[in-house]
Amino acid sequence: MNKTAIDLQNISAGYDQEVLRAANLTVAQGSYVGIFGPNGSGKSTLLKVICGLLRPTSGTLQILERPIRTNKDRDWIRRQIGYLAQIQAPGQLPITVMDSVLLGRWGRFFSGLKRPSSQDRRRVQETLELVGIEALAKRDLRQLSGGQRQKVALARALVRDPEILLMDEPTTYLDPEAQEALVEQIKELHAKLPLTILVVTHQIQHSWGFSQAWQMQYGLLEEVVA
């Protein structure tokens, strides 16, 4: 029987007000799960709780069957997850695709005075090939299209060798063609890699192919037929 990757029991969380209300969610290791819901329904708050950025006000959280209670536990979570957010503006930072993807290994394989090793660089190359963007390795991130930048962000999340991949509105702000291509790529990755993938999105029009799907509204989670 598969281990449990994510287990939330009666989790409530929020900032000034409660956004997430007594949420229960169990995700088996290796599954591909989607959470749909409109903007402001609490999806991103849920991801922040799962990746240890936001402490729940009540309830219990277990990641890979480890109870998450202390800051040490939260630091540990960050080493287990990869994270892909919605496409960001390119910004002003000059950085090559290769260097940008290498940063994904920060905190798990290098940090501070511990410099990236040749193994880290080799892994970056392999991940660029996996995502199909090895030809962009030397390009400046600022010069890429939105779809290309999102593939780079996907490679950055994967290069960490995560157990769990969290995606927050990964297709938002991409053009329709790039959206479909990214959805297909995520499905292929799930078929190839032993990864637990959790996607939160308001875009229900794509054929995501989730093995399990949930609906979120007003901070409440409800399982729906995939």
Binding site: C51, D75, Q88, L93, P94, I95, T96, L103
Partner: protein, 268 residues
């Protein structure tokens, strides 16, 4: 008088060393300011410096010390508040800029401090650089280089995507606090060197010229330092040769380098 003869005068030699160190090292903060879209921040800090100068004079202290102290304090406060309040850095900048200017004018009106002396901190003069100022420039230059060297990857992550950096466990708040305080110190020193109106010549212009030409943070930092060195030394010798004000000559050289960078990028 030739350049070599001029450089034998201790005051001019000290000014030259201070200016090229500031140009090549303090300019590295421009990379951070532009990448994080904090261009309004250094403007705020200049206004805070004015209030600091007024407070310094009201307390019978040097206006420069007052300006320096208040700039450091407000930089630190903004660095901390940025994490704890739901206001953008630009909103905080607006609050501190208007607030400090208003308080400075009230202080000037009520305390009888000569306004022109307070506004003197906006003028700056590299030729009046003291040995202590030079030591400050050297120490801040070394700290700046260490900051970028030790936290190179962490800084890259923060500049790339703050939210991702936080999720991966980078201490974004602490880095931001240190960065704001050091940037405040750099602005305060640049105020002393070239005056408020020309702070951008030291802090911003070299990075503005370098960032579009670089394909990585390391290259951006090296190019910024090089352009900063070039504009500081070029401006200094231009001022000596044509008997011009040093700050303005540095700014003109910096603007010329920026124009060349635009030509290279085919923007002109």
């Amino acid at each position: 008088m030739s350049w070599l003869q001029a450089l034998q005068i201790p005051m001019i030699r000290q000014a030259f060393v201070g200016l090229i160190l500031a140009g090549s090292l303090l300019s590295l903060w421009g990379v951070m300011v532009i990448s994080l879209n904090l261009t309004g921040l250094r403007f705020t800090l200049m206004h805070v410096g004015l209030l600091g100068a007024a407070v310094g004079m009201a307390l019978d202290m040097s206006p420069t010390v007052g300006a320096f102290a208040l700039i450091l304090l407000v930089s630190g406060v903004m660095g901390v508040l940025g994490d704890r309040v739901r206001l953008s850095t630009n909103a905080l900048s607006g609050f501190f800029m208007t607030g400090s200017l208003a308080v400075a004018f009230i202080l000037l009106a009520k305390s009888g401090i000569p306004a022109m002396e307070v506004f003197g901190i906006f003028a700056g003069s590299v030729l009046l650089l003291s040995t202590m100022d030079l030591v400050f420039v050297i120490v801040l230059g070394i700290v700046t280089v260490l900051f970028y060297t030790i936290l190179y990857r962490e800084i890259q992550l923060v500049l790339l995507d703050k939210e991702l950096a936080a999720i991966l466990g980078v201490p974004v708040g602490k880095i931001r606090l240190v960065m704001f305080i050091l940037l405040g110190a750099a602005v305060a020193l640049a105020l002393r060197l070239v005056g408020a109106l020309l702070v951008d010549a030291v802090i911003l212009l070299p990075a503005m010229a370098a960032l579009p030409l670089a394909n990585g943070l390391k290259m951006a930092l090296v190019l910024t330092a090089f352009f900063g060195l070039l504009s500081a030394s070029g401006g200094f010798f231009l001022a000596l040769s044509l008997d011009l004000p040093v700050g303005a000559s540095v700014a003109v050289t910096g603007a010329f380098i920026l124009a060349l960078s635009y030509v290279k990028q085919r923007r002109i």
